[in-house]
Symmetry: none
Subunit: 225 residues, 4 copies
DNA sequence: TATGAATGAGGATTCATTCAT
DNA sequence: TATGAATGAATCCTCATTCAT
C-alpha cells in the first residue's frame, strides 16, 4: 500500500507530466481538426478563429498557446494533413505491379482518399489558390513546399521506372508527375465546384477512371511497328 | 435666351440622354476593370471595395448604384470577362482543320490568351475555389454556370466532331471537354502557384504543348489493326 | 424666386461643400477633445478608443477616418493643444517689462493656464513620460519636438535679453530655459500627483510664486560690490 | 530505512523550513528585480507579466503567490527600491558640512545614483505619472506616500538646519524640499525624455551642477548690508 | 445620379488572472 | 508551494453598406 502511495507521489511530480502532455496533444489535435474544417469551408481569409475555437471546444486564447497566429495555424493544418496523406500515398504504391497498374492504383487511392476525406485534399490544394503566402514565415512556406515535393516524388518515381522498363514513352518524369498531380487535383476540385453550383454531372468515379485510362494511353510507349 | 433654355431642355431630354448613358457606361466599365484587378490580386474576401472605387475613380457609394453588393460585382466581373473570353475562344476554332489541330489551336489560344491576360483566367477560375456562391443570387449563379457551359460547348463540339470523323476514340464529349478544360485551367493555375512560391520549373509553354500531345495520344482512336 | 432656386442649385453643387467641411471640422474637434480627456486621464496605453468615440459621439470607425491610428490621434491631440498653448504663451510676453517681470508674467500665465486647462499641460507633458514614441511616425515625433522647441524659444529669448541687459548673470539661455520649463512642468505635475494621492499641501499658487522668486534670485546678476 | 524517513521528516519540519524560507526569499527577490526592469521599460499598463515571470525564471502562477495582482506587484517594486534609495540618501548626508554643501552633496548623490541605477529613479518617479492609484489598496498608497515623505524629510531637515543657521533665507522647509525634489526628478526625467527623442543637449551632469548653484543662490540668505 | 462621410458589426490578437495538478 | 495551461474579457482596427446632401 505504501508503495502505491509512493507511486502516487512520483506521479504528482513526474507522471503528471505525461498526463498534461496528453491533454495538450488532445487540444492540439482538436484545434487542428476544427481549423481544418473551417479553413476548408471558408478559405483562409474568411475563416473565423472564433468558430475554430468553438468547434475545438477551447477558449479563443488557447489557440494562441498552440499557434502563433492565423497563418501559422493554417500551415500547421496543411502540414498535419499533408503528412498523413503522404504516408498513405507512399504505402499505396506496390513496386511489384506494372507501371500502368501502379498509376491506376495510385489514382484509385487518390480518389478513394478524397471520397472519404474530402477536406484533406481541399485544404492541401487550397494553398495553391489563395494569397496566404504573404502572411507565412519562410520556414512555413518551405515546409509546405517540401511536402508537395514529397508527393510528387512518389509519382515521378513511378513514371521514371515505367520509362526505364519501356512501358512509357520517354519523358521528363517530374514534368509528367506534376501534370498528373495537377490533373487529379483539378478534377476533384472541379467536381467540388460543380457540386457547389449544384450542377449534375456523371459520377466522378467513372470520369476519373476514364481520365486515368486516357492519360495512360497518352503515356504509353508507341507500339513497335 | 428662351431659345437657349429650350435648347437646354431639349438636350436634357434628348441630346443629354446619350451623353449620360455614355458616362454611365464609362463608369460601369471603369468599375469592372478596377474590380477585376483587385479581385484577382486579393481574392473575393480580401478584396477591398475602397480600393476598387479609388482605382475606378468614382466614389464608394457609386459602386452601389451599379452593383447590388460585393458578390454581384464579383459576378459581373466574371461575366464581363467571361463573355470576352468566350467570344475569342469561339473565334479561335477553325472547322477546316483536323480535330487534332483544332484541339491544338484551341489549346494554343488558351495558353496565349492566358500569357497576355493572366487575370482573365484567374478571375474566371477563382469562382471555383472560393465560397462566394453563398452570397450570390440564383440569377447570378445561373449566369456564371451558363458562361461556363458555353465555353465547354465549344470544346465538346470539337471532340464530338472528332469522334464522328473517327479521329478520336468514342467517348462522352462533354466529359472529355470538361476534363480538358480542367487540365488546362489546372496547369495554368499550378504554374501561377509555383511562381508565387518561387519554385522554378521548366517553361510552361513547353510543358503545355507536351501535355496537349499526351492528351491527343490519349484521345486518339486506336490504330486499326 | 427662380433666382433663389438657382441659388439652391448652386448650393447643392458648391455651397454644400462648406457645410460638409464644417461638419467634418466639428467631428474632428469633438474627437480631439474627447481624446484629450481620455488620454489625459488614462495615459496612452490604457486609453480606450471605444470611450473616445463614445465621448465624441461618433462611431468607432469614424475615428479612423480622421486619424490613422491611436498613436497619430495622440500626436494630433498634443499638436492641437500645443499650438493653442504656444500662441498664448507668445502673447503673454510683454517686451516692455523688465526681464524679471517677463519671467514672472510668463510663469503667471503658465500657472493660470494650467489652473483653467489642467489637461492641456498634462497631455503635453505626458509625452515625456510614456513609451509612445515607438508607435509614432518620424513626422509625428518631429512635429512634437518642434512644438516643444518653440515654447522653449520664448523662454530662452527672455533669458537672453535679460543677460544682455545685465539683469541676469551670464548663462546658457537655452539651458536655463530648459531648466525653468522643467521646473514649471515638474511642479504642476507633482501637484497633480499629490492630489491624486490625496496629500494636502500648501496651495500651489503660493508655492509657485515662491519658487519663481527663488529662481529669479538664483538668476540675478551678482550685485556689484 | 526508517531512520532515513525520520530524517526526512525532521528536515521537513525543522531543517527544511529555513531552506524553504530562503527559496521563497530568493523567488521574491527575483520577481521584484524582473518586475522592476519590465515596469520601468514599459510602464505599468504596457508591462507584461508573462515577461516578468520569464525573467524571474518562475511560473506565471507563482507571481500570484507572492503578490496579489499587477498593481500590488508594482507597488512592491516601488517600495523595495524606495527603501534602498532612502537608506542611501540618508547615508549621503554629512551633518558636519555646511548646509550648502549638504545640498550639493545630496544633489551629487542623487545624480550619481541616477547615473548608475537609472531604473530606480524612473520607477520611483513613474507612479507620479500614471493612473495606477485606482488599482491599489489603501495600504499600498499609504506605503508609497510614506516612502516619499521619508525622502523629503531628509531634504527638509537640511533646509531647516540651514535656515536655523542663517545660511538660507527663511522659508517653509517642506515646501522648498518638495521643490528641490521636484526639480531634480524633473531634470532627470526630462533628460531621459530628450534621449528618447534623440535630442542632443549639453551633458546633464553639467546642467545639473549649474542648476544646483542657481538654486543655492536662490536659497541663500540675503547678504547683510 | 453621384458623393463620401458615417456607421457598427466583426475579427485577430493580447494578457491578467484562475485553477487543476 | 509551484506550475503552466486555460480562460475570456478587452481592444485596436477593417470594411461592406447606408444615407443625407
Amino acid at each position: 500500500m505504501s508503495s502505491e502511495r509512493r507511486g502516487d507521489e512520483v506521479e504528482s511530480t513526474e507522471a503528471v507530466r505525461p498526463r498534461r502532455e496528453a491533454k495538450k496533444a488532445l487540444h492540439r489535435r482538436r484545434i487542428l481538426e476544427a481549423a481544418r474544417e473551417v479553413f476548408f469551408r471558408d478559405g483562409f481569409v474568411a475563416a473565423n478563429l472564433d468558430e475554430v475555437a468553438q468547434r475545438a471546444d477551447v477558449a479563443k486564447g488557447t489557440l494562441y498557446r498552440y499557434f502563433d497566429n492565423k497563418a501559422e495555424l493554417y500551415v500547421a493544418v496543411l502540414a498535419h494533413n499533408g503528412e498523413i496523406f503522404e504516408e498513405k500515398l507512399r504505402g499505396s504504391v506496390d513496386p511489384a505491379l506494372s507501371p500502368e497498374d501502379q498509376i491506376r492504383r495510385t489514382a484509385h487511392f487518390y480518389f478513394e482518399h478524397w471520397t472519404t476525406n474530402t477536406e484533406y485534399f481541399q485544404i492541401f490544394w487550397a494553398l495553391e489558390n489563395q494569397a496566404v503566402i504573404g502572411d507565412l514565415s519562410d520556414d512555413a512556406v518551405e515546409e509546405i513546399t517540401k511536402l508537395w515535393e514529397n508527393c510528387l516524388r512518389v509519382l515521378a518515381g513511378i513514371i521514371e521506372r515505367g520509362v526505364a522498363q519501356g512501358a512509357f514513352a520517354p519523358c521528363d518524369p517530374w514534368e509528367v508527375a506534376n501534370f498528373l498531380w495537377t490533373v487529379a487535383n483539378g478534377m476533384i476540385q472541379s467536381e467540388h465546384a460543380a457540386a457547389r453550383r449544384r450542377i449534375r454531372r456523371r459520377p466522378l468515379a467513372e470520369s476519373f477512371e476514364n481520365a486515368v485510362e486516357l492519360l495512360l494511353r497518352g503515356l504509353a510507349a508507341p507500339a513497335p511497328s
